[in-house]
């Protein structure tokens, strides 16, 4: 019995799908949904540690802040340095108390990296070593930039240390670069705080080096000296933070937008599909019961539905989030509790039609109970309608939930497209021209929404031929 019904259901699905294949926008929508689902499923492996550590500044500090996507280079006349990580130094030599590491950097774009960050790991026996970083320009000029006294933690045999050094990060470095470049300036020199440090450091040594920089391409060497007796280097890494970064760039605090985006797809789908599934189940039960029993039951349920229709969603969501907490599950719960109303109306109207069908009567004559008739006969017929309505529900839920983020009521424990957009808004991404930060997350909402809307409309056109064009 159940197997036969399941078979019927599957057959019905294929009948609809065969027609569905003819719907161009519907097929586009479906492929959008499927790609998003795949992305969402892969989120933990494609973008590990993203969701949990979104608010952890340390997780993102090695990424450049506010870097546009790398492909912008193809549309721009000035090419910008890409992000580069070197896990090994190009040369490593040790001479008594000095360990010398050299990283080569081939600079062939118009804009140099934003900064260079080193991670140096090692151990020492007793005297604290010093780390000195210098930039050797193609012409051979050497600019000593950063120094750091290393503080390790005591272990069994001596001290171990892991230190992070930013080459251009501090005001000291700024002054040093400024001092180096000032020699070449002929006119007035801007204040150290006004210069772009790396641009000057990677510029042709000529007049205007501080303001009208011209890039000096060629091979740069970055020399790291680790000075101290009994010091041993175990590991080192250099990060040349890019002026452009990754597929989607980074936001103001250095979050990799692509990673957040993938999680946005995941939470968007979780939210949208949960709400859709929940509302459809409630609506099916409500609408079918109402249509099946008719009479005063129907009357009462319709009045109830009308009352629920009149309840605005946003205020309830806002108040719940303000007072009770901002969990995404609250949002799903409230939306499910309210959004079933419209679907229930459609379902009831269709249910009234199906009720006329002979075999519901036949079922009644055979003595099947009300609930069994609804389950067995009416619900399977309603499923395509319910599916179409549910599909239209998804974008509505996602947009509303994203709006809560902008109002300052988003769930802080998850990364959604709304999270990113609200951060973009707070950080003034729009007036800073960081279009990728604004455009891409919103595009996610739009694509997913378009996918569901076009799929839903296609199904609706199939099951409800009156809506067909022509």
């Amino acid at each position: 019995m159940i197997r036969r019904k399941l078979k019927d259901l599957i057959r019905g699905f294929f009948v609809v799908f065969r027609e569905y294949r003819g719907e161009t926008t519907g097929m586009i929508g479906l492929s959008l949904i499927i790609s998003m689902i795949i992305l969402a499923l892969l989120a933990p492996s494609l973008a590990p540690e993203t969701n949990q550590k979104w608010d952890n500044v340390d997780r993102w500090r090695d990424l450049p802040g506010g870097a546009p996507p790398f492909w912008m280079n193809y549309f721009s006349s000035t090419s910008k340095a890409r992000h580069q990580v070197k896990n090994e130094p190009d040369s490593l030599s040790s001479e008594s108390v000095i360990t010398t590491l050299v990283y080569n950097y081939q600079f062939d774009s118009d804009l140099p990296p934003k900064d260079i960050i080193f991670y140096v790991k090692g151990k020492y026996t007793s005297d604290r070593p010093t780390l000195i970083a210098s930039l050797i320009r193609p012409g051979g000029e050497k600019v000593q930039l950063a120094t750091r006294d290393i503080q390790g933690t005591e272990g069994e045999d001596g001290y171990t240390f892991e230190t992070r050094l930013t080459m251009f990060g501090g005001s000291q470095q700024r002054t040093k670069v400024h001092r180096f470049a000032k020699e070449y300036e002929e006119g007035s020199t801007p204040d150290p705080s006004e210069i772009d440090v790396t641009r000057t450091a990677f510029a042709k040594a000529q007049d205007g080096m501080l303001s009208r920089t011209e890039p000096l391409n060629g091979e740069y060497k970055i020399e790291l000296l680790l000075v101290g007796p009994g010091t041993e280097l175990t590991n080192s890494r250099a990060i040349f933070t890019g002026r452009v970064y990754g597929l989607m760039g980074t936001d103001g605090t250095g979050h990799n937008i692509a990673r957040g985006w993938i999680w946005g797809a995941r939470y968007g789908l979780i939210l949208g599909l949960s709400v859709a599934a929940g509302t459809v189940i409630i609506a099916l039960i409500f609408g079918m019961t109402s249509a099946y029993y008719g009479g005063w039951v129907d009357e009462l349920m319709q009045r109830l539905n009308e009352i629920v229709m009149g309840i605005p969603t946003l205020p309830i969501l806002v108040v719940v989030a303000t007072l009770w907490g901002r969990s995404i599950w609250f949002v799903i719960f409230i939306m499910t509790l309210l959004y079933w109303r419209g679907i229930a109306k459609t379902i009831r109207a269709r249910g009234l039609q199906i009720r006329q069908n002979t075999y519901v009567e036949a079922g009644e004559a055979l003595g099947a109970s009300g609930a069994r008739i609804i389950r067995g006969h009416m619900i399977p017929q309603m499923l395509p309608y319910a599916f179409a309505e549910a599909a239209l529900m998804v974008p509505m839920a996602i947009i509303a939930a994203a709006g809560l983020h902008v109002l300052g009521l988003g769930d802080p424990t998850v990364v959604t497209w709304g999270t990113m957009l609200s951060e973009a808004n707070s950080a003034g991404a729009t007036i800073r021209g960081m279009w990728w930060w604004v455009l891409l997350p919103g595009l996610g909402i739009t694509l997913l929404g378009f996918g569901f809307i076009s799929a839903g409309m296609a199904v609706e056109r199939i099951v409800n031929p009156k809506m067909k064009q022509e």
Partner: protein, 353 residues
């Protein structure tokens, strides 16, 4: 006619019930939460009084303790904490229904009043200005474009509209606002990216200044909604155009203009008008968030600021007003349908959606 009056009374009653339910929900959410907060506030108030009064500071410890307890009790009475929760919920709901929203925690109206109602009233006209202007534009634009598309069903405009309608309605309105700022404020520099500060001039200059600040949010709302509106209009009109009486009207030799703007539009009017009104209500949320994006000082921005400052009475007040507008807008849409369609004697919700 009596049937219509009966229906009006019934629907109004139903709307009031809905409003009552919503307010009860809001009030119970509010009360179950705010007890703790109120306790803290009362304690703070009393402590502040002790700190500011040299008289009290001269009392002995025991006397002071007694005074404090007395004072806390008084304040608890005043805030109604001595009453059971359900009673507080009902009192609170009743106050709200009387449009008494109490005092804000810290926000003030321009005149310095801490009455939530005054704060909201100082912001509401700006929201209404933005929202209704946008609504008028997108309803008209949607009507014109939808009608044009329906006249050549399957034509270029029609096909474009179906894609445009689908795409624009899958975009969050406020996101479009952000893009608008990027393009028209940051890139092109035609309009300001923020509505604040409002112009300080008077007369014509003031209105031009307001219009200048209004342009982007207005354009955003219109762009977001009119596509879907036009699409809905197009569908309704296409349905009507296929009806036999349109063919009959044409056979009568009536000018095409009259067939379209008379017979067709008049027949399509009830669902077109009702759905326009409903979409207006649906867009309240989006429009409020759009205010935040543009810093338009209406109730949307007020909500955001109140949330950030934790000024719960203000949040509650705004949400009550929004709910009331929504519920009565819904009622009006329903009644309007009956008024516009002679076939519907009472203006029924059954025939909508």
């Amino acid at each position: 006619m009596p049937a219509r009056v009966k229906y009006l009374v019934f629907r109004t009653f139903q709307a009031l019930i809905t409003l009552g339910i919503v307010v009860l929900i809001l009030s119970s959410l509010f009360n179950s939460m705010s007890e703790e907060q109120l306790q803290t506030r009362i304690r703070q108030t009393v402590t502040a009084r002790v700190r500011n009064s040299t008289e009290l500071q001269q009392l002995s410890d025991e006397e002071l303790k007694e005074w404090r307890e007395n004072e806390i009790g008084k304040l608890r009475d005043r805030w109604g904490l001595d009453q059971p929760v359900w009673q507080r919920i009902f009192m609170d709901a009743w106050d709200r229904m009387k449009l008494d929203f109490g005092q804000s925690y810290m926000m003030t109206a321009p005149g310095g009043s801490r009455q939530v109602m005054d704060i909201i009233l100082s912001r509401l006209p700006r929201t209404i200005l933005l929202f209704t202007t946008a609504a008028v534009i997108y309803v008209l634009l949607g009507l014109i474009v939808g009608l044009k598309a329906a006249q050549v069903a399957g034509g270029k405009l029609d096909r474009f509209l179906s894609i445009f309608g689908m795409t624009s309605s899958s975009m969050p309105m406020w996101w479009l606002g952000m893009l608008a700022i990027l393009i028209f404020a940051y890139q092109l520099g035609w309009f300001p990216s923020t509505a604040l500060p409002l112009p300080q001039t008077t007369g014509l200059d003031y209105y031009l200044g307001v219009l200048y600040r209004l342009a982007l949010p207005l354009g955003t709302i219109v762009f977001n909604i009119f596509g879907a509106r036009a699409w809905v209009t197009r569908n309704i009109v296409t349905d009507v155009l296929q009806d036999d009486y349109i063919m009959a009207a044409r056979a009568k030799g009536i000018p095409e203009r009259k067939v379209i703007y008379g017979h067709t539009l008049r027949t399509a009017a009830p669902p077109v008008v009702t759905s326009a009104l409903l979409s207006l209500l649906m867009s309240i949320g989006g429009a409020m968030i759009t205010e935040v994006i543009f810093n338009w000082p209406g109730i949307g921005l007020l909500t955001r600021v109140a949330i950030l400052q934790g000024d719960i009475p203000v949040v509650m007040g705004v949400m009550f007003i929004t709910s009331a507008i929504y519920i009565f807008g819904y009622l009006v849409a329903d009644l309007l349908y009956g008024l516009l369609d002679p076939r519907v004697e009472v203006g029924t919700s059954q025939s909508m959606r």
